[in-house]
């Protein structure tokens, strides 16, 4: 299964506005994307399109997360979501 790691760049971590922007983008991608803290079991992965899941994940700036997806377009979707996570969305 294609997967990518990304380091959270937003100052406030993955909640508030950055979480909303990321969840919306994940929801619009053609494949289902999961997110988990790096090193945690695959079973613990959460739906990346769920803002509430992202908030309970509690990823702070500098934390490393793993994104996973399967199917047509998975690689492209993961690449664009990684870019989003590695951008400081609070600065925009």
């Amino acid at each position: 299964m294609p997967e990518r790691t990304a380091t959270i760049a937003s100052r406030s971590g993955l909640h508030a506005r950055p979480a909303a922007i990321f969840a919306e983008a994940a929801g619009e991608s053609p494949v289902e994307v999961t997110i988990a803290m790096a090193g945690s079991p695959t079973d613990d992965a959460l739906d990346a399109a769920s803002i509430l899941s992202l908030m309970t994940l509690g990823a702070a700036k500098g934390d490393v997360v793993v994104l996973r997806a399967e199917g047509d377009g998975a690689d492209a979707a993961l690449d664009s979501l990684v870019t989003l996570l590695e951008t400081d969305l609070d600065a925009e």
Binding site: S12, R17, A20, E24, D47, I51, L52, S53, M55, T56
Partner: protein, 562 residues
């Protein structure tokens, strides 16, 4: 022409059509099952459709909003169709046969609790999940969404009562007046209306039965709402527009006609309020409600955070007086890190200064933060404790202020015992400030939030005026000319303000919107006339007569529509 009589709490005369605020969404009964005619698949589909339409409605509002409000609405919209929330509700429908309403209710509760337990920013979003849940239930039931109705055209809002949280969604460009069937003169509706300068009537029984879209005339000074407005009332509404313009400018000089100076100060809740008050000519801040900076918090703010919040207010008033009240948590303003929500009698419970008995340390750290902020500015910083009942408490508070390096400690006089013993209380501190809202509720033993007690709950009660007089007399007895101000909503009523000056009060602090009206009326009377009006009010048998007698001697009020 049908008339509804209530209590006027904020002046102004307007004509408009009404919108009823929907009743809060009630909890679907525990264990509520799917109706026999509905399959689980149909219920899940119905839930998804309701969630989608709540999402679309919030998204549409987000698109029209800006700034922080937009970000919150966008995030809330996403919560409405969140997979975590909907999956857990779907499971309850499929596995337990729950009704869709009950399923989303329970799913929302558990997600909200999870966020709450995470603390910090996440905990602050927990209430958003509950709001979304209520909206989805309303959608499923086919009833209007809770909260202030969304509208592009102006309307008069009719509600049972408003909560502090409603202020955030109340747009004064759209809502032109507030009328409530419940609430008293000291309720949140009244405070919100005065701070926004909106005409308002509270405790007007029967108004919740008026259909949406009805044209009405509201008189916020007379406390009435009339159906089928007359030509006279239309003319009065037009005249108010002009008066309101002249009554919006205060020249920054509170004085009687004969030059007796009474500084007019503002009540503020934070830096934004303070800047607005300074722009409206306030001569300082008579009440900085520090708890308003922290109402959304689950945990105690750090000393550094607090100092920054205080500094924001001090900076708006360089060289001027800023009276800061230490955290007044409890009763209608709970703070999770200070107050116990399960008290049977919160108004008589551990609130205000008393929280230092049960949670020592918070007050000490707040005083430390105030001292840091005061050091960095040119404002003249005074600090007072709320809910002081005895001279011993005043002495202890003064010594805590001294230890923190705060030069001017004072007390709120809102418990009748402090008013009755003000000479002893004032021996330990530098000043007193009368909080007339709570002083009235305690003197009359009438909960300020209760509509049926609105008639008892007015600072025009001769008993309350007598307590004001005794507090001033106590200061004279103490002998060092220590100032006694008023910072309750009573000071915002121009007629009552004159009476208070006549009783010997040295400063009046009010919502900044009222400064111009109070300043205008005060300039029309001499100190001697004010003293005469104070004697008249004290001699009245009840509050209604006190108010009527004084108003009859101040014809300018009727002229200006105040």
């Amino acid at each position: 022409m049908q008339n509804f009589q209530g209590v006027g709490v904020s002046p102004g005369r307007v004509i408009g059509t009404i919108r009823q605020m929907p009743k809060p969404v009630s909890e679907p009964p525990s264990g509520e099952q799917l109706a026999a005619s509905t399959t689980a698949e149909e219920a899940v589909a119905g839930l998804k459709a309701a969630a989608q339409s709540v999402h679309d409605e919030l998204k549409a509002r987000a698109d029209k909003a800006s700034g922080d409000g937009k970000a919150v609405l966008e995030a809330t919209a996403l919560m409405a169709k969140d997979t975590m929330l909907l999956k857990s509700a779907t499971k309850l429908i499929n596995n337990n046969g729950s009704s869709a309403e009950r399923a989303i209710w329970e799913a929302g509760a558990s997600v909200s609790e999870m966020l709450h337990n995470l603390g910090g920013y996440m905990a602050e979003r927990a209430t958003d999940v509950l709001d979304v849940r209520a909206r989805i239930v309303a959608e499923l039931r086919g009833v209007p969404a809770p909260g202030i109705p969304a509208s592009d055209s102006p309307f008069i809002l009719v509600a049972e009562d408003l909560a502090p949280a409603d202020t955030a969604t109340l747009d004064p460009a759209i809502v032109t007046a507030l009328v409530t069937s419940g609430g008293g003169p000291q309720s949140h509706t009244a405070i919100i209306a005065r701070s926004l300068g909106l005409p308002a009537v509270v405790a007007a029984r029967g108004v919740d039965e008026i259909p949406d879209g009805t044209e009405v005339f509201v008189d916020g000074a007379a406390g009435s709402l009339s159906l089928e407005p007359t030509e006279e009332q239309r003319a009065a509404a037009l005249a108010w527009v002009e008066n309101a313009a002249t009554l919006s400018v205060f020249d920054g000089n509170g004085t009687t006609a004969d030059g007796h100076l009474v500084p007019l100060l503002a009540n503020v809740g934070g830096a934004k309020d303070a800047a607005a008050a300074a722009a409206l000519g306030a001569q300082g801040v008579g009440l900085f409600r520090t708890e308003f900076c922290f109402l959304e918090r689950d945990t105690e703010p750090t000393v550094i955070e607090q100092a920054a919040a205080y500094r924001g207010v001090f900076d708006a008033f360089p060289g001027k007086k800023v009276v800061l009240r230490t955290l007044d948590a409890g009763a209608d303003k709970p703070l999770p890190f200070l107050t116990d929500a399960t008290e049977p009698n919160p108004a008589l419970g551990v609130r205000g200064y008393r929280t230092d008995f049960t949670t020592p340390g918070v007050l000490e750290r707040q005083l430390e933060a105030i001292a840091i902020a005061a050091d960095e500015t040119e404002a003249e910083v005074w600090v007072m404790a709320p809910m002081i009942s005895t001279a011993a408490e005043a002495a202890r508070f003064a010594s805590m202020c001294d230890a923190a390096g705060i030069k001017t400690p004072g007390v709120m006089v809102e418990v009748p015992s402090a008013a009755l013993t003000s000479a002893s209380v004032l021996r330990h501190v530098g000043f007193a400030s009368l909080g007339t809202n709570d002083l009235t509720q305690y003197a009359m033993a009438a909960d300020r939030q209760l509509g049926p007690l609105a008639e008892l709950n007015t600072p025009w009660q001769p008993a309350v005026l007598r307590l004001v007089q005794l507090t001033v007399a106590g200061s004279a007895e103490e002998g060092n000319g220590k100032p006694v101000g008023v910072c309750g909503e009573a000071a915002a009523d121009p007629a009552l303000a004159v009476v208070l000056v006549g009783l010997g009060v040295s400063t009046l602090s009010m919502t900044a919107r009222s400064l111009a009206a109070v300043g205008t009326v005060l300039k029309t009377v001499t100190l001697e006339e004010a003293q005469e009006l104070a004697r008249l009010a004290l001699s009245a048998p009840d509050a209604l007569d006190a108010k009527a007698w004084v108003r009859a001697k101040l014809p300018i009020l009727e002229e200006l529509g105040l």
